[in-house]
């Protein structure tokens, strides 16, 4: 456990070095916050409740969604890509640690940094416009649990795509396409419940809505406790499926690793 905790700490210290980057990213977050708040305010102008959600809830949804997307950092994909391309991956395999756990700890380090540097300031700033607190303590706890599962799903998807870099070196913008898909189909900007019923029916069978929409609707109290537990069960299922896929793929790829350069 110790080396992994150390990795988390190193990542934290590293990111605290770049103060200018920090201010810039904070400013970008505030711009996002502004836009989504006024976008939804314009949409809800003169409208009471749409799909069981009122304006206050929707604004909270968008703020928390912004926070989640700023802390759900999955760099594992680009890490693997970079290391395979340069051949550094060999050095990582020599180390007496599980390399994927190490990449996971690196990402967790970034997540912790983002909670301090981005999530917290944005949360405080959002009090200017709304009351972003969760409906109840139970909702908060369920939200936190569900968010952790969401992160695991996103991380595993990213890691699986990353594994392909061992074989193909470059895949062009596959990672970017994945990010767009997640952003739209997960309901991180516009919740899926506003989409046509047929689209919703399809998306229920895909992992995307279990990454953003589920924890967020728990947070704003749109999901009942029962529905929340049911959703989290599906999340666990997706984590297991992706973990299984990841494990199979990893074992297969590790049998034969080609290291670039010398």
């Amino acid at each position: 456990m110790k080396p992994y905790l150390y990795m988390i700490k190193i990542k934290l210290l590293l990111s605290l070095n770049y103060r200018f980057e920090f201010y810039i990213s904070l400013l970008v977050q505030v711009i996002f916050l502004f836009t989504s708040i006024f976008f939804w305010k314009a949409a809800y102008k003169g409208v009471g409740v749409v799909e069981n959600v009122n304006e206050q809830q929707m604004l909270t949804y968008s703020v928390i969604s912004l926070i989640l997307s700023s802390i759900f950092i999955t760099k594992v994909e680009s890490t693997i890509q970079g290391k395979v391309r340069k051949g550094n991956i060999a050095v990582d395999y020599i180390k007496p640690t599980n390399i994927f756990l190490m990449y996971f700890s690196e990402d967790i380090g970034d997540v912790v940094t983002s909670i301090i540097q981005k999530a917290f300031p944005v949360f405080v700033f959002s009090f200017l416009f709304i009351n972003p607190l969760p409906t109840s303590a139970v909702n908060l706890i369920l939200f936190l649990l569900s968010s952790c599962l969401s992160y695991l799903i996103l991380w595993l998807i990213s890691a699986i795509i990353g594994l392909f870099y061992f074989r193909v070196i470059d895949m062009g913008p596959v990672g970017i396409i994945k990010d767009y898909l997640v952003r739209v189909l997960s309901g991180s900007f516009v919740p899926i419940w506003f989409f046509p019923k047929s689209v919703q029916a399809v998306l229920n069978y895909l992992p995307f809505i279990y990454t953003y929409q589920l924890p967020l609707s728990i947070y704003i109290g749109r999901s009942t406790i029962n529905a929340a537990f049911k959703g989290m069960l599906v999340q666990v299922l997706w984590v297991l499926i992706f973990y299984f896929l990841f494990k199979r793929l990893k074992d297969k790829i590790e049998q034969n690793i080609f290291v670039q350069g010398g």
């Binding site: 976008f39 314009a42 396409i177």
Partner: protein, 270 residues
């Protein structure tokens, strides 16, 4: 006149080389052709969903928003084609890449403008064009010679305005050595001020994007004039012409700042 002709012929050579570079990896181009349009189509779909579920956003119907959205992406695509080199100016400064431009017997700004012609930008332009055409048809935009001239003015002005702001923030690297991270700020500002009607924002922000950083002229004000929308601003004269004037004005300003910054340029160590 002779120098002018020489510059024209040089520009042709630069363009030719850059297009050849861009076409060297067709698979790369095609992969971007798949991924880049996605973000714009997703963006417009989410707006459509919201407008249908609620009501016209800030008084704008969906086809009109599509028109504005498409118009904004047209200039975005063009600015990505022509001004991509301003996105990595801090790299050029810290690595001493300007040395190469300075020793040649040509205007540095001219060389800088033509050093990178980003063919990939066309993958931004195409989806913009599709959305724009859809917006034109769906909103029954009257296609007359006058309107086409106005659109040409708007797109030219907006492209120059975007390029000018890229150049201005890029030129900061002459003083600060780092400017890359500012890119995320102006990219998000550009997309939010051109995709949604500005009147959904508070008056203070509208003033900011009208008078101080006139991003509203990229697509919001010109579109509002085409559709006779009340923006709450009484601006003298034609808004499309204003978009052009502002674009050219900002571009001249950015050129001056670039020249000023170049004096501070001190090459790289080793």
């Amino acid at each position: 006149m002779k120098t002018f002709m020489r510059y024209i012929s040089m520009a042709k050579v630069f363009l030719k080389i850059n297009i050849q570079c861009g076409l060297e990896y067709p698979a790369y181009l095609i992969s971007w052709l798949i991924s880049n349009p996605l973000q714009f189509f997703f963006g417009i779909i989410t707006i459509k969903v919201v407008v249908e579920q609620f009501h016209p956003l800030g008084g704008w119907e969906f086809p009109q928003i599509a028109f504005m959205y498409g118009l904004g992406i047209l200039s975005h695509g063009l600015s990505v084609i022509f001004f991509i080199q301003t996105w990595y100016m801090d790299y050029l400064v810290t690595n001493g890449e300007f040395d190469r431009l300075l020793v040649r017997p040509l205007n540095v700004f001219f060389q800088f403008c033509f050093m990178d012609f980003n063919f990939i930008g066309i993958t931004d332009f195409i989806p913009g064009f599709i959305i724009f055409i859809y917006g034109c048809i769906a909103s029954h935009f009257p296609v007359t010679i006058l309107n086409l001239v106005k659109l040409l003015l708007v797109v030219t002005g907006a492209t120059l305005l975007r390029g000018a702001i890229y150049t201005l923030t890029g030129s900061l690297a002459f003083w600060t050595k780092r400017s890359g991270s500012l890119r995320s700020i102006h990219l998000s500002l550009f997309s939010y001020t051109t995709q949604y009607p500005l009147n959904i924002f508070p008056k203070l922000i509208q003033n900011l994007f009208t008078f101080i950083l006139p991003l509203g002229f990229i697509s919001y004000f010109p579109s509002s004039e085409f559709f006779n929308k009340d923006t709450g601003y009484k601006i003298f004269g034609n808004l499309s012409v204003w978009a052009f004037i502002i674009g050219v004005g900002f571009y001249v300003l950015s050129m001056a700042v670039f020249k000023l910054g170049l004096r501070r340029y001190e090459s790289a160590g080793s």
